[in-house]
């Protein structure tokens, strides 16, 4: 039988899906055990037991100086910045994407400009942001927004242009103005596209956040990772990396569920 026709069963699928995770874990454990056998003080590959102990300590023990649990403070701080940056970008992307997609005059004005703008490497702009906006949270939110807005505008304007011309004509024969078409025909159909575009841009958004936090900050998940790097605290770094991965996965999954719940009609469309 050809490989393209061989289907894993339910159990087979679960096993295969778990396989890479198990293999990575085993490889790590083996590597860690080997290094620790040679030098019990080794810090590069802490044992899984140490990792769990560190994770428990990080999420439950307050900081000796401030009395706060840094782990949760970092999480709140990072998620706030991420939410603000992505939120601002989504709003700008939605408004400009719709306008560029629907109105030829606005398309002529902004399409080329946005295309050029999207080529600027956002991280190269970071020093400018720190100089002009200071090293506070504003610059970090701005970096995230600047980093993903051009992509959102381009993606959403393309999606708006893909709306069948028939629908726009139909809306006109029902007496709809440009505003009415934007708000009641295009906007609702673009919303699920906005959510999927935001899901795609979350990866870059995390990148910009962690880069900005690494350069200048006093809290946040990225800041902590780059801080403890000086002490070679691999157990802390790995816990934080795992936590960021879990957060990113949960946000992505949550947005997908939200989209399906809010826009059930979008799923069935051929």
């Amino acid at each position: 039988m050809r490989w393209i026709n061989r289907m894993p069963g339910r159990a087979g699928h679960a096993t295969l899906a778990a396989l890479p995770f198990v293999l990575v874990f085993l490889a790590y454990s083996a590597g860690s055990a080997a290094r620790l056998a040679e030098n019990p003080q080794d810090r590069v590959l802490p044992s899984p037991t140490t990792l769990v102990e560190t994770a428990v300590r990080l999420v439950s023990e307050p900081d000796r100086r401030s009395g706060e649990i840094l782990f949760w403070g970092d999480t709140v701080s990072s998620l706030t910045l991420l939410g603000a940056g992505v939120g601002i970008a989504a709003l700008i992307g939605l408004v400009f994407g719709l306008a560029i997609g629907l109105v030829p005059m606005i398309r002529s004005t902004f399409q080329g400009f946005v295309a050029i703008l999207s080529m600027i490497p956002p991280l190269a702009v970071l020093p400018i942001l720190f100089i002009t906006l200071g090293v506070g949270d504003t610059a970090k939110v701005a970096l995230i927004a600047i980093g993903i807005t051009p992509f959102l505008i381009r993606d959403l304007s393309a999606r708006t242009l893909e709306l069948p011309q028939e629908q726009l004509v139909k809306a006109q024969t029902l007496g709809a103005s440009t505003l009415a078409i934007s708000v009641s025909v295009a906007l609702p159909q673009i919303m699920p596209r906005l959510i999927s575009a935001v899901r795609l841009s979350l990866g870059p958004a995390w990148l910009f956040l962690i880069a900005a936090e690494a350069v200048a900050s006093d809290s946040g998940l990225g800041y902590r990772i780059f801080l403890v790097r000086r002490f070679l605290a691999m157990d802390v770094i790995l816990t934080y990396v795992a936590w960021i991965t879990v957060l990113a996965f949960l946000i992505d999954w949550g947005l997908a569920r939200l989209s399906r719940w809010l826009f059930p009609w979008a799923e069935a469309r051929a």
Partner: protein
């Protein structure tokens, strides 16, 4: 003057002529079927009537007034596909016929409730009441087109334009849609222009059948000339071309030869 008056229209895209010297008069309440080979400008003609495009030369007047340059509520349209809004429930698609003309494209409060009640009544009439809360994607092709027609009619246009409305439907459903459209027309007596590929359908539903074809043909450059109205049949009188009636008023009975000529064309 006729209700719809088309005077000597030319339309070309990028120098390629599509339509040449198309002139036409239609009375209010007339059902005009338009047939012809693919690419002979039937749909272009419909877009001109809709005012989605402007002709390169010539003009169209409706009720003595020239078209304004963009589609409006006086002319409704049903396309072969994409005619209903996928993000609105079946009921809200009908409500949209009233709501979209508002500033924000939607109704609020008591006006909305009244429109919903009217929409439910309309759905009851066209046999879609049981799916009022579903989205169009859950409907069969025939039901979607019935919804599209009802939606267009809910805006009470003076002219209904149909662009191959039943082209994607199976023969049985198509039969049902013919009956549905006939009933609606008896009720509303509105002016209809329908483009179709199906000759029997054109003669069955139409009062008149127009044939679009190229009168000049360059075998080395098939796109060199545009199409025009080559035949204008009276579908209510056994399918006799109006041209023939004017020339020899004594002729009666079905003009079989004429119909065969058309079938050869399409």
């Amino acid at each position: 003057m006729s209700f719809v008056q088309v005077t000597d229209i030319f339309q070309s895209y990028g120098g390629r002529p599509i339509l040449e010297r198309v002139s036409l008069e239609a009375q209010e309440g007339e059902f005009v079927s338009i047939v012809g080979a693919s690419g002979c400008g039937k749909s272009t003609f419909l877009r001109l009537l809709l005012d989605q495009e402007r002709p390169t030369r010539g003009g169209i007047t409706v009720d003595g007034m020239p078209l304004k340059g963009e589609p409006d509520r006086s002319r409704g349209i049903v396309f072969q596909r994409y005619s209903v809004f996928p993000h609105l429930s079946v009921r809200d698609n009908i409500v949209a016929a009233e709501g979209l003309s508002r500033p924000l494209g939607r109704l609020f409060g008591s006006v909305k409730r009244a429109a919903r009640a009217r929409a439910d009544a309309a759905l009851e009439r066209i046999g879609l009441a049981h799916v009022a809360d579903q989205y169009p994607s859950a409907l069969s092709g025939g039901m979607q087109q019935r919804l599209a027609i009802a939606q267009a009619l809910a805006a009470k246009p003076r002219i209904l334009l149909l662009d191959e409305p039943f082209g994607a439907l199976d023969p049985g459903t198509r039969e049902q849609m013919h009956e549905f459209l006939k009933d609606l027309r008896t009720e509303t007596r509105m002016t209809v222009f329908m483009v179709t590929h199906d000759l029997p359908e054109a003669f069955k539903l139409g009062d008149r059948v127009l044939v679009f074809d190229k009168v000049r043909w360059d075998p080395h450059d098939p796109a060199a000339y545009g199409a025009t109205v080559t035949y204008d049949f009276d579908a209510r009188n056994g399918g006799i071309p109006f041209q023939l009636q004017h020339e020899t008023p004594a002729v009666t009975g079905p003009d079989v030869a004429g119909v065969h000529k058309i079938q050869g064309v399409t």
